[in-house]
Structure formats: structure tokens, C-alpha cells
């Protein structure tokens, strides 16, 4: 149980959108144990704070890759970190996407929710459909990269289009409602705002997918990552330990309760 982060140096920084950037971090000396898709690290910006950030790619060379959306002081400081900056990391924490025995994969992401799902894409030889939504075309993550993933059928949709946008406009539930898939073979992975995940799950259940074929990534305030701060409770779950990825049968009653 350590509170002391392991130093990592930013070796690359890619601007993804107007408020999001992807950092590649290389250990300064020691490195953390390997991460699995869906797990997260606690990233520390010197003097500003520490927040949970999912692993957004697993290159396998000991580097950590994270995509960070600047929403407040800590995420802003991490987002702004230029190559050379030393950042602290602790982890890996939490549960991973369950991919054992998966046949067809259906991935639905909203906004920054695509980041923790990215390591899943293209790393499986399975048939994969990705539906990714964002508020505007400018908020869509990894646009160029997604186009190059030959094993993934990608559907992009935005809440509000603009004159350069020729794709879909609307919520992710719309393509989901008409998407052809085999409920007997499909596993769905959902990550995004809670209402989005609830609506998507409802649509999928309505189309015959069994609840235990749906996995969601849940979010609560987290300040330790090691189950001692108590902030990440969601009913019976301590999300830093029992989450963020959980099966829908567990998540369903929790998501439906008000202010849980």
C-alpha cells in the first residue's frame, strides 16, 4: 500500500481535441507492473494533485499511455504536461475488461469514455464494432487512428454537427438500435456518462442481449486507488477495487438508484 508515486517522464504528447491530449510516459527508473485494458493509474501532477486516469493504450514497451481531458486543475496540469515533465504514477488499479472467450465485440463509447476502450480495439482478432459518440465533431477522439483500424467497423456520431460534418448526428443509442448483431455471440463494452450507459444497456437488453454479456466502466470520486479513502463507494462496490469495469447484472440496480 504505497502513496508514493513512481516517477515517469512525458516522452510524447499528442493533442487529440481542443481539450484532450494523449501522453506517453516512460519510467524514470523503476516501472509499474503491467496494466490490462480497463485498468487505471493514479497520475500525480507535482503540487497540483492526483487523479484516476485509465490506460488508453498498451504498447508493451513499459511506457504508459493516457488520454486526458482537461476539466479541472489536476486534469489541466496533466493535459498540459510537455515532454520532459516528470509525472507520478501509481497502479495498476481496478478491474479490467473481461475479454476471455469473447466472440463478437460491440464497443460503445461516449466522449472521453473512448480512452479506456482504445486498448481493446484492434488488439483482438474478433469482429469488432465501435460506436463512438461525442458532443461535437471537435470532441471526437482518435479520429484518424480509428479510420485505419481495419478490423473494426466504426460508427461515429455527434450530438451537434457543423457544416464540415457529414456523418451521423444523434445519440449513440440510435445506431445501436439498428445495428445488426448476434445476441448469442456478442459481448458489449460500454463506457461513457451514466445515462448513456443506462440507455445503451436498455437498448441492448431490448434487442435480446443477456445482461451478463454487457460490461460497463463506472466512475466515482477517487482519491487513493487502494480502497482506503472510501470516496469511490457505489453501493456494495469500492470502485477502485471492485470496478471500474463491472458486469451489467451488478451495475444495473446501482445505476438505477438515485444519488447512490
Amino acid at each position: 500500500m504505497t502513496w508514493v508515486p513512481t516517477p515517469y517522464r512525458v516522452v510524447a504528447r499528442t493533442v487529440e481535441t481542443h481539450d484532450s491530449a494523449t501522453l506517453t510516459l516512460r519510467p524514470v527508473a523503476e516501472s509499474l507492473p503491467g496494466f490490462r485494458p480497463g485498468q487505471f493509474a493514479m497520475l500525480y501532477a507535482h503540487g497540483v494533485g492526483e487523479v484516476p486516469i485509465s490506460i488508453s493504450a498498451i504498447p508493451g514497451d513499459g511506457t504508459l499511455v493516457h488520454t486526458i481531458r482537461a476539466v479541472g486543475a489536476v486534469s489541466r496540469a496533466l493535459h498540459d504536461a510537455e515532454p520532459g515533465t516528470v509525472i507520478g504514477a501509481r497502479g495498476p488499479f481496478g478491474t479490467a475488461w473481461q475479454l476471455d472467450g469473447v466472440e463478437d465485440l460491440l464497443v460503445v463509447a461516449g466522449g472521453i469514455g473512448l480512452a479506456p476502450l482504445r486498448p481493446v480495439l484492434g488488439h483482438l482478432s474478433k469482429r469488432t464494432v465501435l460506436i463512438a459518440g461525442a458532443r461535437t465533431p471537435q470532441d471526437l477522439l482518435y479520429k484518424d487512428e480509428l479510420g485505419q483500424l481495419s478490423s473494426v467497423d466504426t460508427v461515429l456520431t455527434v450530438d451537434h454537427g457543423d457544416h464540415d460534418w457529414h456523418g451521423r448526428v444523434g445519440f449513440v443509442t440510435e445506431p445501436l438500435a439498428s445495428l445488426p448483431f448476434d445476441p448469442e455471440r456478442t459481448t458489449a463494452l460500454l463506457c461513457g456518462p451514466e445515462p448513456m450507459m443506462r440507455f445503451c444497456a436498455r437498448t441492448l437488453l431490448g434487442r435480446g442481449l443477456a445482461p451478463d454479456r454487457i460490461q460497463v466502466s463506472l466512475e466515482r470520486n477517487m482519491q487513493c486507488g487502494i480502497g482506503v479513502c472510501g470516496h469511490c463507494q457505489l453501493g456494495p462496490l469500492l470502485l477502485c477495487r471492485d470496478g471500474p469495469v463491472t458486469g451489467y447484472p451488478t451495475a444495473r440496480p446501482l445505476l438505477s438508484a438515485k444519488e447512490l
Binding site: G47, G49, E50, G88, N221, H231, A257, E259
Partner: protein, 358 residues
């Protein structure tokens, strides 16, 4: 284990031995009209002849007719203060890197730990870890008006985890303590305290006193599966009713010997050095559940539900045991006198009558 008997001078000698070994002995002390916990240097520091009168939102020290030193129930503080201090620095960061902080926790000996608090120490350490203190338990022979450790299976007899257990008795033969060791370390310490060998009658009397205490609990939890009750009661209208009375002040969580939640904050000085530190937090704080854009649990009802559900229900899911030991502190120190046993009882009643708000 072998037991022995000593009087107040023996207790003083015990404190002396513990101190001689370099331990900081913490025990009950009368201060600001309450029995608080602080360093005790000799038996004369103990609140001899002081008892308490406790009720929901009510606590008064009172004079006892005898000179008992452990004749009071749980006070405003718990051992949590020492095992899991209200403020603690976690690490520091400067231009040379990230650094662990030196653990300067003294080697504690806790004197007069009641059965409920002994159980609480176990539950707390299960989560927070840290070095084990030396524990001198005081078995409870006189529970207070808000105690319900029997319902929670945590007392009044001291459960496992003590190094030495004491049972205080005052009768025609005077004031004395039956001391039993629970660990080899406890036995070694006791061996250095002048005492006489316990006779079967000493042990029988102590058992009799503790048994009587079990029948004299001020309160009880309703006898049903609390974990099921709270899971089923998630949408009960009862939470709104409690919220009308609940101040959301967080006192209950702060005084609870097992509530472990902390918030982590960053502090920086002018020279660019930084520190991360934790402080006791409470699920009654609105920011406690803050996610970018706003808190999850804003209503008083949701926050009270979180506290009680966690204590009595989801603690089982998370840590395999209840979070409540029945010490009654949350009842006494809630300014509004909200009583967790009564709320549980009322909740089960409303559930029976179909009080589901959906």
C-alpha cells in the same frame, strides 16, 4: 492463560512497565467535562469515581458512588484518533522527486479498551493497516444507555485481539482488577506487575459481572439481517424522514470508531515543495461524492442512507463484516440524537408495510 489480580497500585505498576518499555500509554482522562483519551502517566490520571450519563444527543459526566476507573462508557473520542489520525502526511514531492514520509507513530499501549472498541480496532486496521498497538482491554461490566455491542456480537466480553484484558470490580474486598493475558507479549508484561494469582472465585465473579452487562444493554439492533434490510430499503421513503432531522454535520462519522474515510489534499509552499496529506472525511460532506460537474449525493437523504447502509450493510460486501460494533457513539454525539438502532427498527417497520417509495 493464567490470570492474576491486582489493585490500583498494580494498575499503576502496569502503566509503569508499559512506559518503561518505551510505549506511550493512552487511556481515559477527564477533560472539559468528558472522558477523553490522552496520554496517561500513572493510575492517578485515570477518571477515578467518574461515570457518565448518556442518551441520544446527550452526554454528562457524573460522580459515581465508588472509585471505579473504567466505570464510564464510550466517550467523545475513539482509538481511531491514534491509529488513523485526523491529519496525516502521505508523501512529499520536490525537485528531487517523490518521497515517503517517516512514520513517527509512537509505540502505543491503549489502556481501558472496551470490547466494542477492541472489535473496532480490528475492523479499522483491516482497512488502514499500520502497526498493531499493545492493547489492555477493560471488559465492560456496566454498559451505558446507548450501548448495543451485544446485538453486534462485539461485547461486552473482550473478543480476540487484546494483549491483556482487565475486569474491574469494587466490593467489600476493595477495588481490584482481574488481569488475563491474551498474547505472549501480554503475559510477559503481566509477569512484571506485582499481583496475586487469581483464584477460581475471581474468575467466576468477573464472568458473572460481564454476563450481567450483556443483559443490561441500553439498546439493541432489530434482530434481522441488516444487510438485507438496507439493500432492500434503498428506495424507502424513510430516508427523507430522517433527512428532516439530520443536520448532515458529519459528527456521527467522525466519532465512529470504524469510519475510515479520508480526503486527500495537496499543499504547496512558496518554494515549490509539495505535500499530499489526508484528513478524516465524512460521507455527509457534499464534496465527498464530487465528480466533475457536481456531487452525486446532494440530498441529505442520500447522504444519511449512504452512512447507515455502509455501516450496517455494504461493509459486509466490502470487508466481510459489519462496520458497526455497537459502541453507541453516533447516537450520543449526534446533536440531533438520531439513533441508528431506532432508524433501523423504523426502516424495517416501513419495509414490512410496503414503504417503498417507487
Amino acid at each position: 492463560m493464567a490470570s492474576q489480580v491486582f489493585d490500583l497500585s498494580g494498575l499503576d505498576a502496569l502503566i509503569g512497565v508499559l512506559r518503561a518499555d518505551g510505549r506511550v500509554v493512552v487511556g481515559p482522562l477527564l477533560r472539559d467535562d468528558a472522558i477523553t483519551l490522552a496520554e496517561v502517566k500513572s493510575a492517578t490520571d485515570l477518571p477515578s469515581g467518574w461515570g457518565v450519563e448518556i442518551g441520544p444527543g446527550h452526554y454528562r459526566v457524573r460522580r459515581r458512588t465508588d472509585t471505579a476507573v473504567f466505570g464510564h462508557s464510550a466517550g467523545p473520542q475513539s482509538w481511531k484518533r491514534f491509529l488513523h489520525p485526523p491529519h496525516r502526511t502521505l508523501m512529499s514531492s520536490d525537485s528531487s522527486g517523490f518521497h515517503a514520509v517517516q512514520d513517527d507513530t509512537p509505540d502505543y499501549a491503549f489502556l481501558g479498551v472496551r470490547a466494542c472498541d477492541l472489535a473496532a480496532i480490528g475492523k479499522l486496521r483491516q482497512i488502514t493497516g499500520g502497526r498493531a498497538p499493545f492493547v489492555v482491554a477493560a471488559q465492560c461490566t456496566e454498559p451505558g444507555e446507548v450501548c448495543f455491542c451485544t446485538s453486534m456480537g462485539c461485547g461486552p466480553a473482550a473478543g480476540p485481539g487484546y494483549d491483556i484484558a482487565l475486569t474491574e470490580r469494587i466490593d467489600e474486598q476493595g477495588q481490584r482488577f482481574l488481569a488475563t493475558s491474551g498474547t505472549a507479549e501480554g503475559a510477559a508484561v503481566l509477569a512484571r506487575v506485582p499481583a496475586r494469582e487469581a483464584v477460581p472465585e475471581d474468575i467466576a465473579l468477573a464472568e458473572q459481572d460481564v454476563d450481567a452487562a450483556a443483559r443490561n444493554m441500553g439498546r439493541a439492533m432489530p434482530e434481522l439481517d441488516l444487510r438485507d434490510l438496507l439493500a432492500a430499503g434503498r428506495d424507502s421513503a424513510h430516508w427523507e424522514a430522517v433527512a428532516e432531522r439530520c443536520l448532515t454535520c458529519g459528527n456521527c462519522t467522525m466519532v465512529c470508531p470504524t469510519c475510515f474515510c479520508v480526503s486527500v489534499e495537496d499543499h504547496t509552499d512558496l518554494d515549490g515543495n509539495a505535500e499530499r496529506a489526508q484528513r478524516w472525511a465524512s460521507c455527509f460532506e457534499i464534496d465527498f461524492s464530487y465528480l466533475h460537474g457536481g456531487a452525486v449525493r446532494t440530498s441529505g437523504a442520500a447522504r444519511y442512507r449512504q452512512w447507515m447502509t455502509h455501516k450496517l450493510g455494504t461493509w459486509h460486501d466490502q470487508f466481510g463484516t459489519s462496520g458497526c460494533v455497537g459502541c453507541g457513539r453516533c447516537i450520543a454525539w449526534c446533536p440531533a440524537g438520531i439513533d441508528i438502532t431506532e432508524e433501523a427498527a423504523v426502516l424495517s417497520q416501513t419495509m414490512k408495510h410496503g414503504g417503498d417509495r417507487r
